[in-house]
Amino acid sequence: MSEPQNVIFLYDGSLQGLLCCVFEAVSGRMLPLNIQPEQTASPTLFETCFIETDPTHAARVARSVSRKIGPRARQLVGHVFLSCAPKKELLILRFLLRGWEEGPRICNMLGHPDVAPLIDAEKHLLNEAHLLKGFLRFSDYGGILGAVIGPKNEVLPLLAGHFCQRLGNEEFMIWDKTHKVALYWHDKKAQYFGMEQFTPPPAGAAEQQYRRMWKRFYDTIAIPQRRNPSLRQNLCPKRYWAYMHEMEGES
């Protein structure tokens, strides 16, 4: 099954759907040229084949991954699925096929070409999630906190636990602009829902005052004799700046 066939698998964009593609590849002994979510698939000359999501198939694959390749493999696949790695579906498929041959030791083969790209994708995801734990900014809209993020990776599930327990006594919403998903925490319960558009209400007087004080603190804390814009940009890439009040007017 090492030679890819001239076929592209399409799936519904869910992890379950992707596991069904894996099921199809294994049971049909057919390695696709690529696997793409149906919604974002580009038109192609190659033959495409839509793989229906069948929960029993997905569950069989998930169980087999846990049993035969181990819980770490299951975690890695989950993380890579949330990442923005190009052709991540194909990476996952190749990793799993190799994993069924090698067994749990596959997760330790960190220099292997079928493993290293997944480790890198996971690192990128976890790193962005870590940065956003710091760079995310809430605004107080009459007692409810609201934040907008625009991450490359789908980090919201990784941020949820952190913010829900840190701000346990607050009510808040985080909207992921890139993936059009929102997380809402209220009354000790978290829920996700799809959200195409969100325009934050205008900030009240107190909110504006705190933003001004924060900006002032931020500007004051820098030591002019040590100014180092390139170091700052390395540590806090520009794509996060649009969501951070203190970076207004910085270049």
């Binding site: 083969m109 760079f135 840190r166 030591i223 040590r226």
Partner: protein, 444 residues
């Protein structure tokens, strides 16, 4: 006075304190406001590239002391202000729930006397921890000369305590900070270390014992205001880690804040590259199993501006190499330039599944540009390269700010001197680069 003005004055007075870390303690929210991440978390990076993790302010900058290197010294004519404990607590909470900060770093100038100042700081922290139920990170600075009972109380409220050493030797301290005695710095440090040890034992017996400064203690010293060499500073640092189990020692490149004949001239640029090298050496002490005497010796008392200290050690100890990546102990791997703690750990895991070759090492994250001259692995018996080539691969490009028109603050003093004398930046860095490479290859 408006709160905005107070914040401006008291943040400005606190900015020379280096530490803004929030690591070393894990705590969940538990239904209240706030939690702590063991790895710490940076919330912003200021224009000088330093991490902003905590609301770093002084409670007041009104000072009874007159330390010559300090902006807040009594004799300096600057605006003075003080927060009330309530103002400070409210500001911390409001910044925290907006996710601007990870917590509070509270320090203070000496208002009236050390004990009075400590009591004011403690009442602000009590308000935060008690009335507001705040579970985020708190770093508090103890005031030299304060009563041990007050330090004890502060340690039960704060996650990390720090006592600044300020200057690396007693002589410099006597000259530049006449109000601070050496004992007033080391006594609280010893007390904190001892109390923390006892606290760990008590916690083992009874887990509901109140925790004393769970994130440990740190200190900082100013580099470049006094004549001590790097070897002296590094040995002092090593001693502090061993004797007082410090979590961190911070270095702060001296920025002239006053015209004083005992201090470097106001026009002196802060020795940022030296500070950077000291931090690299500090990492070697903490994460690479190096000792201070290995990094610097009597005949080489200062760190090389052009080489990171680990490369420096490798160049002086050619007999240690090549290291066989597939067999070497983890401590040996850590000595190879281009292999850090993360890649060493990955190598140890990955080689159990089979011998590694160069491609595998690259995928794991080893920096082969430097490592290739120091290792052997499957299918690779080491690079055959001329000394000049190796030297060029090892030199730290940051010291020359090569490739950029604008001169970086980090560039080596020699580059700065050349540009100050009128040489264009690019030419200056190229000239010094060539000389440093020549000099290094002769040493190899």
């Amino acid at each position: 006075m408006e709160l905005m003005d107070k914040l401006t004055i008291l943040a400005d007075s606190a900015k020379y304190d280096v530490a803004c870390t929030s690591s070393g303690v894990s705590r969940t929210g538990n239904g209240q406001l706030g939690s702590c991440l063991p790895a710490g978390c940076c919330h912003a990076f200021s224009a000088d590239g330093r991490c902003v993790s905590l609301l770093k302010v002084l409670l007041t900058n009104v000072c009874a002391f007159d330390c010559s290197y300090c902006v807040n010294r009594r004799s300096n004519d600057i605006p003075r202000a003080a927060f009330t404990p309530r103002e400070l607590a409210e500001l911390t909470i409001q910044f925290y729930r907006r996710n601007y900060i990870e917590g509070l770093f509270l320090s203070s100038a000496v208002l009236k006397n050390p004990d009075y100042t400590m009591e004011q700081m403690i009442s602000a922290l009590e308000l935060l921890r008690g009335e507001y139920g705040f579970r985020g990170y708190i770093h508090a600075k103890t005031i030299p000369g304060a009563d041990p009972a007050l330090i004890q109380r502060m340690g039960l409220l704060a996650d990390r305590l720090s006592v600044n050493i300020e200057l690396p030797s007693e002589a410099s301290l006597g000259l530049l900070a006449p109000d601070k005695a050496r004992t007033s710095i080391f006594r609280p440090m010893r007390q904190i270390a001892r109390t923390a040890r006892e606290n760990t034992r008590e916690l083992a017996v009874y887990k509901h014992t109140p925790r004393f400064a769970p994130a440990g203690q740190s200190t900082q010293m100013i580099v470049g205001a006094s004549p001590e060499n790097d070897r002296h500073i590094l040995r002092l640092t090593e001693g502090l880690y061993q004797k007082y189990s410090l979590k961190r020692v911070f270095f702060s490149a001296y920025i002239p804040v006053s015209a004083d004949s005992r201090l470097p001239a106001l026009s002196t640029p802060p020795p940022l590259l030296r500070e950077h090298r000291l931090y690299q050496a500090d990492w070697l002490l903490r994460f690479y199993h190096f000792s201070a005497s290995e990094i610097l010796s009597d005949d080489q008392p200062d760190l090389d501006p052009y080489l990171d200290p680990k490369c420096g050690w490798a160049v002086r100890n050619p007999g240690y190499f090549p290291v066989d990546v597939n067999r070497a102990e983890p401590e040996q791997l850590l000595r190879v330039p281009g292999i850090g703690p993360k890649s060493a750990r990955r190598i140890v895991i990955a080689r159990r599944t089979g011998a590694l070759d160069l491609d595998a090492l690259r995928r794991i994250g080893v920096v082969l540009k430097r490592a290739q001259y120091f290792i052997v692995c499957r299918g690779y018996t080491g690079a055959r390269a001329q000394r000049g080539t190796v030297a060029r691969a090892l030199l730290d490009p940051a010291a020359f700010s090569s490739g950029t028109e604008q001169l970086s603050l980090f560039s080596a003093p020699a580059v700065q001197q050349l540009t100050a004398a009128g040489t264009p930046a690019l030419l200056a860095s190229k000239t010094v680069w060539e000389e440093a490479a020549e000099c290094l290859s002769r040493r190899m």
